[in-house]
Amino acid sequence: MISDKPDEFTWPTAPQPPIAVSDAIRRACTADLVPRAPHNAFKRTLVSIVSSGAIFAIMLTVGWMRHPPKAAMLYALLGAAAWGVTQGFVLYVSHGKPPGRRGSKSLRWAALFVVPTAFLLHLAVTSGSVLSFHEFLVAPRSLHSTFVCGIHSLLFGALASVVLFVLWRRTDPFCPKLTGALTGLAGGMVGAIALDMTCANDEGWHLWLGHGLTLVAFVFAGWFAGRRWLSP
């Protein structure tokens, strides 16, 4: 209650809903009651991390069977672990506590902007060469390989995102769009990071458009999907 404001008004009492309406609601809500197990936010976050990790591991294994890691295996695994921790952080701030008890909204907004920006910077730093945009467009097969990478990233990211959205379906009536965007970000990271670990092409435009842009796309898609899927 607002304690620093004296109650100078006599507030109206809450009206009772009509009996017919109450009876209809009681009938509808108790007709097919099947016992369900209650859910725990922390356990479900762990399940989310494990399922995303499994999809990430599958994608990494398949990718490395086709192309060996571009850096030393140890560095590649360290990179994967670092981004895995980041993804765990995104999942924790977006879902780690029950809706209505989640921490600062500013922290969630910050994660939504900082993580994709950091990933794009990471791509810029790790790119071996950057052609001019015209050279990139006319270079043989560059557009084709970027398109193929984008499709792979989208497919695996979508798979991870769908798993996350199903796990958290109808849980957040408070800010489903923001939670959806963070869920999309976490799912998109699976595809984008695994692809970055396995793709042999390290040209800058290829990395930004084929690997980084899909992550941004997942944030936007998650924003819209959240409203539909995460709201009860």
């Binding site: 209650m1 607002i2 404001k5 109650d7 100078e8 008004f9 006599t10 507030w11 109206p12 009492t13 809450a14 009206p15 009772q16 809903p17 009509p18 309406v21 109450s22 209809a24 609601i25 009681r26 509808a28 809500c29 108790t30 009651l33 099947v34 016992p35 369900r36 197990a37 209650p38 859910h39 725990n40 936010a41 479900r44 506590k97 029950p98 809706p99 209505g100 008890r101 909204k105 379906r169 109808r170 849980t171 009536p173 408070f174 800010c175 709201s231 009860p232």
Partner: protein, 182 residues
């Protein structure tokens, strides 16, 4: 059973106990209905939205996360249902009245609002939606600023500001009503 919190009753309802739902309904429905009447300013619409809200609660009961504050959770569902319904109504063809005007929501009659609570009720209905909602949630439903901010998807400071400005307008409106009835 009456000693249980709303959250404990919800967990029992999730586990399949119909009696717990009855208790939940008894304790939440008046507050929820009052909030919806205040939002819509139209009792039949509020009754429809009450049913929609409980239908959504029933459908989403297995998604309820242990520890989530139940009353704000359900109020947020009710608010989103109201916003969805209003958005859908905007895109529907409205029936125009005989003089070609769009139908306005019916306000309660303010003649003879002599009783204090009744006068506050009438004056509250005249406030802008943002102020009306903030006052209803904090003063009538009894949510804390933080809980009201969660329901309204804003910050506690913004809720406090809305309540303060709402108070100013409410005071002016009540003086106006008092002059009318005098």
């Amino acid at each position: 059973m009456t000693d249980l919190t709303l959250e404990e009753l919800m967990l029992a309802y999730v586990a399949g106990d119909a009696l717990s739902f009855d208790q939940l309904y008894r304790r939440m429905a008046p507050q929820l209905f009052a909030y919806l009447v205040r939002l819509t300013r139209d009792r039949p619409r509020a009754e429809d939205l009450l049913q929609v809200t409980f239908a959504k609660l029933h459908r989403a009961r297995s998604s309820y996360i242990t520890g989530a504050p139940l009353l704000p959770w359900v109020l947020a569902i009710a608010r989103r249902s109201f916003l969805d319904e209003r958005r859908a109504a905007k895109s529907r063809n409205e029936d125009l009245s005989s003089d070609g005007a769009l139908p306005e929501p019916k306000l309660e009659d303010d003649k003879g609002a002599s009783d204090t609570a009744e006068a506050v009720d009438v004056a509250l209905n005249r406030l802008p939606e943002a102020y009306r909602e903030a006052i209803q949630l904090t003063k009538v439903v009894g949510l804390s600023l933080i809980e009201a901010a969660k329901v309204l998807d804003t910050t506690p400071t913004a809720v406090k500001l809305r309540v303060h400005r709402g108070y100013e307008l409410l005071r002016a409106e009540l003086q106006h009503l008092h002059r009318l009835s005098a």
